[in-house]
Symmetry: none
Subunit: 242 residues, 2 copies
DNA sequence: TAGCACCTATAGCAACGCTATATGAACTGC
DNA sequence: GCAGTTCATATAGCGTTGCTATAGGTGCTA
């Protein structure tokens, strides 16, 4: 049993590692298993990937492309928060479909050696949340919202993976998901699924902020700062006449 | 260097394993390290604990007692949901104080071999949530609420552990915590004051404008003006914390 | 053809989790 | 008081792990 084809050894190693990870059923995957399945000897592996973790990282990178592709396919809707829901579900599905790969990506957390994958996933979610923020649907800064939602998303997925298949209750995921999205969204977004979305933009936001600032006596800026700030705000508000 | 005392070998093994786990700094702890530090040979370990995992489980059980003790100390207040908040914080603190131990307890998730600890922690939280349910403060069954909250709690803690110490932002924890508690609580409980999202409209508007500005490349302000403007905006966006 | 990267294989090291077997010590029944 | 049994520990080593020092082959450029 080997992964031949005429593929070069590097590709065969990747394919073998991915297959073993996907089918290992929770037990560890050894370099010897991988090299044997790839029809290659140990030094080849270490020549191409440095070490075992390097190989797995490469597999994960491929898996992450798939993950991202899934996330992006779901993204075109005009409702950012609805897209976040789909991202969440896609994340969970990815974890349940390929638990071994997922554990390598999100489970093996170690201080000082955090996989870049997590940061990428975070950025992906932040990007989407940014759209929500633009249309005034967000209660907190997108970056923090992304971290918070992703943390809960990972926690739920890990818990579901840890459960035996027949006992898995996706209700857990749905409930946690909605709780997190609800928590970061504004009332406006909650009432109206879509909001005005399209035309929001800088001007609308500036006008809203302008009104809110003048009504609230915020003390985050000094009076001189505030004066200048309001002047700029005014400039922005009046700028795009379109 | 060994853990002598006149303690029996079993206790010495436990102590040695706990110490190595606490100081391992993320790298794996081997049975040989443990037995050497305990001044014992391998079969003794396997006689008492079956295998490596059995030993670590025993260490974890001791650590869990400490964890539970912390949770129970916090519990006597009359407001169950407030107690849940403290349980959450205690959980996070436990994870940050003893990350290695925590990773063994909650991080090494594998299908089919889920540590009993997780179930125990779940039961502990469910017990507390039950009190909330009795007094009509709960929106969903306590069991599901416990699973959901714990999943998010673990996710947040893992994410915080994965971050380098100086970058750790406990706001992430507080925000996620409140979101989860809010989601499972009834309106009655929310009015009671334990949970409050309370962002002013200024903050919401500032967040929206911030996102809109960064997305639109507006040219109404010079780059130096824009820089300062964004800095102030950031200040406003981050001003209100729970 | 000579030289030079690049790639792969042979062989093996040190460390790992774990165990078959044996030996001492402590208790039990008579 | 002694044989039998059980518990607890040690000696020695098995099979596997991640990884590498070294060497050889292959194809390209000069």
């Amino acid at each position: 049993m080997s992964i031949d084809g005429q593929l070069p050894p590097k590709a065969r190693l990747l394919r073998a590692a991915a297959e073993l990870l996907a089918n290992s059923g929770g037990s560890a995957v050894s370099t010897r298993q991988v090299t044997q399945l790839a029809g290659v000897t140990a030094p080849t592996l270490y020549h191409h990937f440095g070490d075992k973790e390097g190989l797995f990282d490469a597999v994960v990178a491929a898996g992450f492309d798939e993950y991202v592709a899934g996330e992006r396919d779901f993204a075109p809707s005009g409702q950012p928060l609805e897209d976040i829901r789909r991202m969440w579900d896609n994340h969970v599905q990815f974890g349940l479909k390929q638990p071994e790969l997922y554990l390598v990506m999100f489970g093996n957390i170690r201080p000082e050696s955090r996989p870049a994958i997590v940061a990428d996933a975070e950025a992906l979610m932040e990007e989407m949340l940014n759209k929500a923020a633009v249309s005034g649907q967000l209660n907190v800064p997108p970056k923090e919202a992304a971290r918070s939602i992703l943390a809960a998303n990972v926690g739920v997925t890990l818990m579901l993976i840890a459960e035996k298949v027949p006992e898995r209750n996706l209700e857990l995921s749905a409930m946690t998901r909605d709780a997190m999205i609800f928590a970061v969204s504004t009332e406006q977004a909650r009432d109206n699924g879509s909001v005005d979305s399209g035309k929001s933009s800088v001007v609308v936001a500036a006008i809203a902020l302008n009104a809110a600032l003048q009504a609230s006596h915020s003390d985050q800026l000094s009076s001189s700062e505030l004066k200048l700030f309001l002047e700029w705000l005014h400039r922005i508000s009046n700028s795009s006449t379109s």
